[in-house]
């Protein structure tokens, strides 16, 4: 019996040891796994939950544009144009090294319109033209559609662009999905068009214009794309100028404006621009309701249904830049991001609504360091160190509680 008890105790101890070994041992040796490609999943780069990186790596990116189906996004990088799937996949290049692209817009699933110029010489002035580019794997060929093009905007009916070579008048034309000029409008706009955007319904356009003899972009005009007629509906006084592209919402026209300044003010502060509203019938511009009187606006974009306005700006001059959405009908102004660390790019064409209106693409980066930064990833996978595109969900009005 003593033997039995001893052997049972020994067996129990052996079993415990065996269990510990079996339970803690790993079948395989340690193997490292490559990091997840940033564009293939949700990441939180400091712009809030649900944000998705749409690009990665170095390069000065700008002018994002969603394809009509929303499954691809095109943008400029250091002057050339690329597009890529919004979920994952490689980017596709559309222009060559000797071409500078300023802006790009889709007109169909396989056609991009590109505003840009071939590389000028030192003395040559850059004059931008509008080009059509087709998605072909074997060619980076561009077809010139219009020269001396000043601005473009995509609407429901196609792409509207302004063109002209002098400061007294500009012309407008409409491009359809095949990339050909469908309708050149015969009645000119007085002055030089600086920016334009079609209304969400596609019947009209709103233009920021530098009137003849004026040094500032101070005129706000509308243009009836059916009748081919335009008229000025507001003019800014004094040294004020319109910044970026005015937007046409269901509740009137919105634009960003402020005192023109080519450099920092005398007190070292950046010039401040504010968001204004004008009824479609015209009148004196008034500060946009609901945004707060200290709000400093940078760029705006109307949602595809015309009911909301995405605004990049700051709650006050000392606040960080964030993305907001204004519902003009409800007079509701909501902060979509509450970011403190990322620099959201504030140039006029640097935000774009997805075709369904569920999200907005912005361009942002972390604050650059003055010291060398060492990262444990290849440069082309890095996100916050460079300007990159992010898709930020903004919800829909019916989602609101």
């Amino acid at each position: 019996m003593l033997f039995k008890a001893r052997s049972a105790r020994g067996f129990v101890l052996f079993s415990i040891a065996a269990l510990l070994v079996a339970g803690c041992a790993h079948a395989d040796e340690e193997v490292s796994i490559a990091p997840l490609a940033p564009a293939s999943g949700r990441v939180d780069p400091g712009l809030g939950p649900g944000t998705r990186a749409l690009s990665s790596g170095p390069g000065y990116k700008g002018s994002p544009s969603w394809s009509p189906r929303g499954d691809r996004i095109a943008f400029t990088v250091d002057g050339y144009v690329v597009d890529k799937p919004t979920d994952s996949g490689d980017q596709r290049r559309w222009t060559t090294r000797d071409f500078f692209a300023e802006d790009t817009e889709w007109v169909s699933e396989n056609t991009l319109m590109i505003l840009g110029a071939t590389q000028p010489t030192k003395t040559e002035e850059i004059s931008s033209s509008l080009y059509k580019a087709l998605a072909r794997e074997d060619s980076l060929g561009l077809e010139k559609v219009g020269k001396e093009v000043l601005a473009l905007g995509r609407g429901r009916e196609g792409l509207v662009f302004a063109l002209g070579s002098n400061t007294h008048e500009s012309g407008l034309a409409l491009v359809r999905g095949d990339g050909r000029v469908y309708r050149p409008y015969t009645r000119p706009i007085k002055g030089r068009v600086a920016a334009l955007s079609p209304s969400p319904a596609g019947d009209d356009g709103v233009l920021a214009v530098r009137p003849p003899g004026d040094r500032e972009i101070s005129g706000l005009s509308i243009f009836d794309l059916r009748k081919g007629e335009g008229r000025e509906i507001a003019r800014l006084d004094g040294n004020q100028e319109i910044l970026g592209t005015p937007q046409w919402t269901e509740q009137g026209l919105y634009f960003v404006a402020g005192k023109k300044s080519t450099s920092l003010d005398s007190d070292g502060a950046e010039p401040l621009y504010y968001l204004y509203h004008v009824p479609q019938e015209g009148g004196a511009p008034e500060p946009a309701p609901a945004v707060g009187e200290d709000f400093v606006a940078a760029s705006i974009g109307v949602s595809p249904d015309g009911e909301r306005l995405a605004v990049i700006g700051r709650l006050n001059p000392k606040s960080p830049t964030n993305l907001y959405v204004l519902d003009p009908l409800a007079e509701d102004f909501t902060a979509v991001t509450t970011n403190e660390d990322m620099e959201i790019k504030t140039e006029p064409d640097d935000l774009a609504w997805s075709p369904g209106g569920e999200s907005v693409a912005v361009i942002a980066r972390g604050t650059p360091s003055t010291e060398p930064e060492v990262r444990a990833e290849p440069a082309d996978r890095l996100l916050k160190d460079f300007y990159n595109l992010y898709e930020i969900p903004v919800g829909r009005p019916e989602d609101a509680p």
Partner: protein, 167 residues
């Protein structure tokens, strides 16, 4: 008393055997086992992994010169001797439109298990020439230079470090 001890031991043993069987099944079900997510390391075949150590003070003192140099340490993190470890340095601009990236390569013949080897790169860190004219939308900021260092074992395991140098 002995009988009680015997039966208690038996019960404990039965419990442990059953628990052990479940543990064993659980381990089989999740095979392959958890992998270490070592950042900056790319898997290749089996074999040792390497790490790269950079001197941050030296990085801060790099100048935009044609004849810069950088010393780094390649560490063998495995338990076996490594031979013919390739170490590469690419120098490029943050401006991706400039295509004059420079590539440099060294081969470390042998690194003992758990040991390290020094590698020195002499390279051109002059900034890439900017285009003569820029479109209105182009950034006015000077571009930063990017150093990408990669150590790769013959089995294909690699470790990368990207250094972003302020302008």
């Amino acid at each position: 008393m002995r009988d009680i001890l015997f039966w208690l031991s038996g019960a404990v043993l039965a419990f442990l055997v059953t628990a052990g069987a479940f543990l064993l099944l659980a381990n089989l079900a999740i095979a392959p086992s958890a992998k270490s997510l070592t950042s900056g390391q790319t898997p290749g075949g089996s074999g040792g992994t390497v790490d790269l150590e950079l001197d941050t003070e030296r990085l801060a003192s790099l100048e935009p010169l044609r004849d810069e140099s950088l010393d780094l340490v390649v560490e063998n993190e495995g338990g076996e001797r490594l031979s013919d470890v390739n170490v590469t340095l690419s120098v490029s601009s943050e401006n991706t439109a400039l295509s004059d990236s420079r590539y440099y390569r060294r081969t470390v013949e042998m690194i003992p298990a758990g040991g390290a080897a020094d590698v020195r790169f002499e390279f051109d860190l002059l900034p890439s020439e900017q285009p003569e004219a820029k479109p209105p939308a182009a950034t006015q900021e000077p571009s930063r230079e990017i150093l990408e260092l990669r150590a790769t074992t013959p089995e294909g395991n690699s470790t990368v470090r990207t250094v972003i140098l302020p302008p």
